[in-house]
Structure formats: C-alpha cells, structure tokens
Amino acid sequence: MTTKSIIYLVVFVIYFGFIIITSIQSSKKVETMSDFTTGGNKMGLLLGVGTSMATWLSVASVMGVPGNIYSRGVCAVFGWVGGWFLATGLMPLVAYKIRRPEVPSRTFPEFMRTRYDPYTEKSPIQIFSAVIELVGYFVFSYIQIQGFGIVFSTLTGVPYAIACLFFMVLLIFTCMGGFESVAATDTLNACLILVGVIAAMVAVLTECGGIGAIFQNFATTTAPTTVGGEPLVAGILGTNWGTLGASVCISYFLSNCFGSTVAPHWVSRFMAPRNAKTAALQMFLVMVALIAVFVPLITIGMGGKMLMPSLPEGVTSDYMFPRLIMDHINPVLGALALTAICAAAVSTANSMLLHCSTSLIYDIKRVLKGGEASEEEDAKTTKQLRVTILSLGVIAVICAIGQFSLLADGFTYVYGAFGSMFFASIWLGLYVKRMNKEAAFASMIVGLIAYIYCMVAGSPFGLPAFIVSCGLSLVAAVVGILVGKKPPLEAYESYFSDHVSAKTIEIAHKIRKDVV
C-alpha cells in the first residue's frame, strides 16, 4: 500500500467515525413513525437546507458533471447544471403547495392518494406510485453504491466488493434512525462536499496556471476523450451544444429540470419542514448554496481536459474526476475531494433507501393490510421499516457488485421517466382543481410508455424525448379531465385554500391512519 493510499484511508476512517456517531445520536430522537418517515413535519430551515443540498449532490453530480464537461463540452453547464438549477428554482412552487395542508401527507404515494383517491382504502394510485418509487429509487441507490465502490477501490487498492460492503455499513447506520438521522448526516455531508470540491478546484487551478489557460485549452483542444479515439473537431467543446447537438442537449436540460421538480423524493422532502414557507425558502437557499459547489465542479471538468487530455482506454468520463485526484492532486487535498465523492454517494443513497423502504412498508404493505390505526401497529411499522432498509441495502450492494453503467446518464433516464410520468399529476394536481384520478392514471401510464418508446426506438422527428413523452402525458391528462368526473372537494381543498372543512381534515387523518 502506498503512502497516498494510507492518507486516503486515514481520512476515510475519520469520516466513517463522524458519520456513525452523528447517526447514532440522531436515531435516539426517533419516537414515532411520523418521526421516522418525515421527521414529524417539524424540520427547521438549516437542517432542511443541509439535507436538501446533500440530496442534490449525488455521485452523478459530483463525478458526472466534471465528466460530462470533459467529454461533451461547456454545453453540459446548460444541459445538466442549468437543468438542475431551474428545477431547484421552480421547486418553491411545488414545495409551498405540498406543505400547505394543515395535515400534510407523509409520503409521495400517500399524497397521490390524498389528492386523487381519498375515499378508497386500498388505493390503486397509492400502490402504483409506491411500486414505481420503489423500483426507481432502488436503481438510484445501486448507482450510488457502484460509483462509490469503483472510486474507493481504484484510489485505495481495497477490493471493489469490500468497498461496497463498507458503503453498506455506512448506509445502514445513517438510515436506521430514519428521516432525522438521514437529515443530520446529510448536513454534515453537504459541508464535506463543499470543502472537498473547493480543495480540488484550488489544486486544478494551481496545476493549470489559472482560469485563462483552462479556457484557452478548452477552446482549441482536439484530444479525444479516450486514448485511441477519434480526435475532436477543434473548438467543439467550447461551442453552445458541444458534442451533443442542440436536440439532445435540450432534452437533457428538460429531463433534468422537469423530471427533478416532480421526483418523488423531492415531493417527500417538501412535507418535512415545519411550515410551507420553510419548505419554499429552503429550496431557494439550496439553489444559492449550490453555486459554491458547481463552480468548482465546472472548473474541475474544464481543467481536467488540460491536465489529462485523454483518458486511458476503457475508462468512462464519469471517472475523470477520481483519475484526476489520483494523478494530479496532492494526497491531502485529494483525500478531501475523495471524501466529497463518498459523502455525495452516502447522502443520496441513504435518502433513496429510506424512500424504498417507506414505499414498501408504509405505502404498500400497510395499505394492503388495512385495519385500524393503533400505537402498537405504528411501532411495528417503524420496526419493519428498519428491517426493510437493512434488507434493501444488502440487495443493492449485491447488485452493485455485479454491473457497470454511466452514472449521470443512468440518473437522467430515471429522472426522465419520473418527469414524464409525474409531471402532469403533480403540477396539474397542485394548480388545477379539475385534475382527477382518471387524468392522473392516464398521464402516468402514457408518460411512461412514451418515454420507454423514445429511449428504445428513438424520438419521432428528432424531437427531444422528454418533450414527446411529457407532451403526450399532458394530452392524456387533459383528455382524462374532460372525460372523467370532477374530483371530490376533499381531494383538492387543502391544496387550494388556507381554511378547509372539518371533513377534509378528517379524511387526511384517516388516510394517514393517525392514532387519535
């Protein structure tokens, strides 16, 4: 083992220690099932900003953004960074409405039931949304574990499988305490990510001789992305649409933007704050804070092209940043940057696993089982949530040990699918009273089928896939509104009025199975 590897490992052991202590302390605060799923709808602003920021920063952003800029050019600033920032900028519109009810939902599928199917006990729309959430977030968790495993094993020499197991231990510790624990470790992770990427940016700027030299190189380079590949057209990395072309770049932008605003984990995040304004303000502050992370990531991507013109054969651009750490950044700064990647993976994967677990136990098992609410039943459900997180974490690690894929692309596909499916049911559900169950179902099914078709067979007329699938989904929603029945007042009242009837509040408690 080299001195560099030992430094990396020492920094990691310190990081592991911090995370485990924070998780144990936070998990002691969990008293009820509501605490476990949404932190009891009482989360403050600072914790909200920390956890939302860390959830934004996954391995797809920390590794994917520099990698995409390196291989596709500055167009990635528009396609990925711009898309994510617009999503965050628009999120207060969703956050405010989601947190507006006096009795807010605890999970995304529960919101779907409250809004579209409040009187059906075993609601198909709640179960359907939960299944989609379970599958999508399992893929997300798996991508995070995989990304971490590859980076950690490459840099430290620890076998990939062992690195994944390390990750599993971290995940279990952070998830077992539920939402509060995830939020607390996320806040710590957000600070580490910030320090790590700034350290890496300083190292890259020093090595390259300043930002001017980086821009100069980026505007003229012809070096292929991987050794032996086709040389790039001179200057293409610096053009508006880079190597992607306008249609693909706009499609990525729209997927990343609108897919994110309606991603179920964000909708759930908006339920946790203490009130609607906190939910909205936290997203605005996250957007501002993220500038401090993305400026370094963009610099790293552009500077990487100067320090490392081509990647070795068989290495995808997602791994450009870890390679840069290994070959060009001094071990102490490198260790900080590496911790940032790890923190990004942990902070995203733990929320995703929590969502998988709540979908399965809270929204599928608990709903299908039926029966009356009781404190014993709630305690049992909390215990089952913990066991499910453990089991899903183990399965995700086993899956991660098996396969490989492009990180940022994988994320975009899932975000694209979420966006196509849920765009109409969330946005129209929150802003159009007439939006009903038939329209919600039609838009979700049409959106999913259209998105899969576009991904497999290509979009018609070369249009961006997201525009086609989301457009068709919206058409299906409009048809559903025109053909279907007007929804009951209890379905939409709490999202449109500040003062609601006693019946609406009673229904909300009944859906949540609150112990009265």
Partner: protein, 55 residues
C-alpha cells in the same frame, strides 16, 4: 473562444429562481397565516422566533 451561452443561461435561471421564491413568499405573507410561516419578512420563516423574549 468558449461560448458564454451556457453560463449566461445559468445566471438567468438563478434569477428566475429568485423571482419564483419571491412570488411564493409574497403569497404566504399576504395570507398572514403563521401556520404557513408568515413572519412579516420575505426571507424568514419561523413565526415562533419573534415571539421569544430577547435576553
């Protein structure tokens, strides 16, 4: 020459984010409801904070 379009678009997007937040915050403030987080100020959100006596 590196295109400035993606960077300018990014700045415009951040400004859109500010406008969106101000619209939402103004609506909440107009409602005057502490339950929603109305505090009398656009960038604060904890109505309980002003009730606490100053030391």
């Amino acid at each position: 020459m590196v295109s400035m379009f993606p960077f300018i678009a990014w700045i415009v997007i951040i400004l859109i984010g500010l406008v969106v937040y101000l619209i939402v915050a103004t609506k909440i403030e107009k409602s005057g409801l502490e339950r929603l987080g109305a505090t009398g100020h656009l960038f604060t959100c904890n109505p309980e904070a002003k009730k606490k006596p100053k030391k």
